[in-house]
Subunit: 254 residues, 6 copies
Amino acid sequence: MRSDGRQFEETRAVTITPNYIKHAEGSVLIEVGETKVICTASIEEKVPPFMKGQGRGWITAEYSMLPRATQVRNQREAAKGKIGGRTMEIQRLIGRALRSVVSLEALGERTITLDCDVIQADGGTRTTSITGSFVALCYAVNKLLQNHKLSKSPITDYLASVSVGIVKNRVCLDLNYEEDSQAKVDMNVVMTGLGKFVEVQGTGEEAPFSREELDALLASAEIGIRSMIDKQKEALGPLTAIVGGNSGAVSGNK
Amino acid sequence: MRSDGRQFEETRAVTITPNYIKHAEGSVLIEVGETKVICTASIEEKVPPFMKGQGRGWITAEYSMLPRATQVRNQREAAKGKIGGRTMEIQRLIGRALRSVVSLEALGERTITLDCDVIQADGGTRTTSITGSFVALCYAVNKLLQNHKLSKSPITDYLASVSVGIVKNRVCLDLNYEEDSQAKVDMNVVMTGLGKFVEVQGTGEEAPFSREELDALLASAEIGIRSMIDKQKEALGPLTAIVGGNSGAVSGNK
Amino acid sequence: MRSDGRQFEETRAVTITPNYIKHAEGSVLIEVGETKVICTASIEEKVPPFMKGQGRGWITAEYSMLPRATQVRNQREAAKGKIGGRTMEIQRLIGRALRSVVSLEALGERTITLDCDVIQADGGTRTTSITGSFVALCYAVNKLLQNHKLSKSPITDYLASVSVGIVKNRVCLDLNYEEDSQAKVDMNVVMTGLGKFVEVQGTGEEAPFSREELDALLASAEIGIRSMIDKQKEALGPLTAIVGGNSGAVSGNK
Amino acid sequence: MRSDGRQFEETRAVTITPNYIKHAEGSVLIEVGETKVICTASIEEKVPPFMKGQGRGWITAEYSMLPRATQVRNQREAAKGKIGGRTMEIQRLIGRALRSVVSLEALGERTITLDCDVIQADGGTRTTSITGSFVALCYAVNKLLQNHKLSKSPITDYLASVSVGIVKNRVCLDLNYEEDSQAKVDMNVVMTGLGKFVEVQGTGEEAPFSREELDALLASAEIGIRSMIDKQKEALGPLTAIVGGNSGAVSGNK
Amino acid sequence: MRSDGRQFEETRAVTITPNYIKHAEGSVLIEVGETKVICTASIEEKVPPFMKGQGRGWITAEYSMLPRATQVRNQREAAKGKIGGRTMEIQRLIGRALRSVVSLEALGERTITLDCDVIQADGGTRTTSITGSFVALCYAVNKLLQNHKLSKSPITDYLASVSVGIVKNRVCLDLNYEEDSQAKVDMNVVMTGLGKFVEVQGTGEEAPFSREELDALLASAEIGIRSMIDKQKEALGPLTAIVGGNSGAVSGNK
Amino acid sequence: MRSDGRQFEETRAVTITPNYIKHAEGSVLIEVGETKVICTASIEEKVPPFMKGQGRGWITAEYSMLPRATQVRNQREAAKGKIGGRTMEIQRLIGRALRSVVSLEALGERTITLDCDVIQADGGTRTTSITGSFVALCYAVNKLLQNHKLSKSPITDYLASVSVGIVKNRVCLDLNYEEDSQAKVDMNVVMTGLGKFVEVQGTGEEAPFSREELDALLASAEIGIRSMIDKQKEALGPLTAIVGGNSGAVSGNK
């Protein structure tokens, strides 16, 4: 058993509170255990300069932690005057992941920016940000549909993410901070509703890992992601229809 | 009557949720109408270099808005690589205000940093930050007392803040965003539990104001601040005892 | 009596040398006691991007101290790579104050930038900058009138500023550096020729202040500002006519 | 067949020129096809502040491209004043990968910095940097052994990296730039001499990938990495002995 | 004749006002024609980290222009967030030049910083800064002698600088801005009281120059520098004694 | 004799490898003794904003050292977040020097950027960069001629550079690092094929120098530059014809 009493293939409790920030086109507060992230989706009717005139849209993401989201206060990146490598890596990952399930052509020349602000951190902030952002994105797209700016949703499939790792020689799903700091191998996986991989990022800085371990980690991740997608569907309720029809498959596969 | 149905000398609804962030020594979520700010107090057992070896402590503050706290998304200061003038002005104000009711000698050589992160903005974010920070500070001081790092509270009085302004030729208390953007005169006032002024910052960029108007603004602010201090006492409950005894006076004055 | 022999309601000697920098459209060297500031007004025939096409002009200010304007050399902000909070606060104040007496519509789509460079500091550098900038601004507007770029002055009233404070329990007008560092309460006031307030910024970081003290500070500030406006009129000589007619009132009120 | 005539599981020609920069403790010019990277290893007899006094060493890496390493000149990061997200991601990856095969305890309190400067880019610059850096690191460790600063090598295994991807529906090993820009799935793999995974980073931004595709990509990567390790051994010659004995296994496995 | 009526080998009028800034250990306002520079010398009883414990002192310089020192307002480097190449080049030149006539050993472990702030520019700001800084440096050294921190002056010789150039095919001494912008060849020369060269910086960007032209430029510069040194002696009056005895030679040579 | 066995007026061995970087319009690896610099010339069909619409082109340069080009690793300027004074000085010098032998009118509205990246440093990196850049520039111009973007070369003359200095009281040509660090006087000279000076930068920080010493330094530099230009001609081979006809003179003069 794990230190917080969970089974090895059990995620933490997940709560998704929609429309958490009134100004945003889409927003949620997502809680995965003690990790809490505010995800907002902001629509702008323009694209970055390098994409102008191509008739395609853009999805991008920013990620930040409040200074006291962590056990020890960490200095603001605004105060340091620059964004750190870890932050950059995470926000590039979030943007890339979300773009994999959006048809940029169908979105049209507009940008949706996902802001993921971690207000309390207890492991898995980047995977939680992806899972929450997807729901915020659906709300924003729904607004575009309601306002007749889009006639058809550009979202092609569900998308969620979890972390997995090897802690004390056992494959564990959805690591909390304590587990994460003891893990020998750490992997973040992003998958679609159809069960395809979008990102697989495994690191064995502490100890290289074998092919068998890799297989076990991927299998555990798949279980977690299915569970996360179910939570997304609950949060979206009738809005689940705005996600591409092929995504029904996963639910059926379960 | 005002656009949201309030009386001219009426504040918006105030909610203070204590211990909102588990890692921080003190924290609250403060909501004043639709303005929502997370205030955390972080204790470090050291002081900035310029204060070393003087046996005195330090109180400082940082302020930020989430990018989508506002109607239109605003760029992160971390992304810009520098902190803007407005942010600097506000965080200097918050720190200065809180220091006015703390005996730095009694605090001893440690720093308490107040982080004020606006998650939703609807006017009055700086005054709400001050009012909320004071409660977070009390929680952090209480932790120092409980851990026997301090034997006596260094907090000498209550402290709260409100905005007042002249909107459509009427003095209004606690402006929301819509009122704030129409105000000809805008004033932020910080007062102690004993009813003394700590900061008076009035600006008539749109229209200079007379001495009579100034007097009316100050009188309205005093009403609002008394009301804010009552809310602080409710949130603090039995912890009200950690604030210096002389502060009972204001409540008595009412 | 005060340490430099002045009465409590007496300003320091004021000297305004017009046309101090040959390239600028308007310029003065203003000396208030030992505080010396070069103020230049630069006209550009364009406005910042956020104001384009509105037919209105813009007034902005920048403030800086030479590294050895102070008793101990302070590092250049250019060398640090960023502008400090105190500088930002001051330059925002100067710009806001000057805009309060200029009709931006009457100015037309052009920008006047006031540069205030403190070459020697002895207290009151921000208030001296405001008082000096107003004169530099008048000179620049005069040039626009002479060149027929404007047919009528957009300046609606005089504008000047002084500091007041409570030093050793006495209200003192126009603090020098020594007094400023001993003051329990410190206030900067900006007023128009008609005797209206534009900015009131009072801070009691060392000791909160009562309503009676606030009243006494404001009264003292008014005396100082009238005296500053008289000095401005002397410096402007026949150019006093370019300031809006209603401003004659103050002089008459004296 | 591939556009440059290679088989699908064939790497490009690899050349490793040792001791390329005379000042560095270790250095190589590594060429993988038309991709050319100078890797230097610099030893400093100190560790970063956060590691002081722990008796452990540190391995870190920096990565950069000359402005004209690419088809279109790209602006220097020094000129932009900040390091981009892609660079940060890559240099974090290189450092992490190399640390996985070094015993920091055995290294002792010193830092080895690997600088990877791409002088010509044609795809696979990050994997080439890892493969080349490992050789430069071996040279630097050899110098420590020769100078009797270390009595035993802290390097526990070989380490190399290749990219794999799915191009026109075929799994291809060691993508050149043209292939990389057409790839639907892109994966970078880092493995040890013993055939264990250190990093697996797969991205399907253009098209999510199935488990079968993932398996095929990993198998292809393993072939490529064995080939790279053989080239490292050739370049190291008698120095191969400084790599931990267990690493002989891979070569034997072939 | 030149556009301002001067002879080809005639400098502009030179005025040196000593003790211009009360806080600085040494200061002058130097005016060469319409070019006006405030030079201050600040003493700190420490040296930069890289010089600690060597028993030697350091002389360094910073240079800046007020935004409206020039015909068109130029943006502050503090606002840009970085110091430009021209400024860096000039401040490195000033520091290097002054160090050539100071015995750093005799100065002892202290730093003298020369700040050169151009308040009005009309050509020759870097040469004027050197000539003025030398006098400010003498005043600061005099203060060290008076306070018995030094028993003997570390200044070994006089030092001054002028510009020369080829304008309309004539060698001209001490170019003003108008001449400078028409010059085909531009040269800045720094010389000692003994007539030795410290810096020769000639640039023929517009037109390469012959050896004969170079000789004529150097001869003209020597005349100008002798004249500048005479002005320095006038300004220093009895303080001329603090400059090394060998420097009497130049004056005698005339 | 010199420490490396050279005569006082002898340069180090010079090797110029053309077309070193495949993507660049022009490129060389230039080696002068142990100093190695990659010079690339990149053509862009636009000019900087301040030059738009004048029908003239622009030549600019950037300079950098790899971190381990030097004996002790130096921190990357990208990591520091700003370009140092020495780098700025050098890149301004390179750009200015090359512009002196290019007719910007004949070049037309395009920019050629010369990137000089020092991969190994042993003295004379800036002079080597100039000599190498000139050849890279010729290659880039040749490409413009071949593509019929230009009908006639805008290069008016050859251009090369060497350093000279006074080491142990002897004038030495082309200093290596060891000599450079012992030199009392240090001079960089840039000359054209016709034997005219483009830049003369002599510094006597350690010891001012006499007119006789200056003359001897210039004579030595001229010998070195002629030798460098011969090497350029060898490297260019038949491309020598693209340099303006008047430059034959130097060769004839020898």
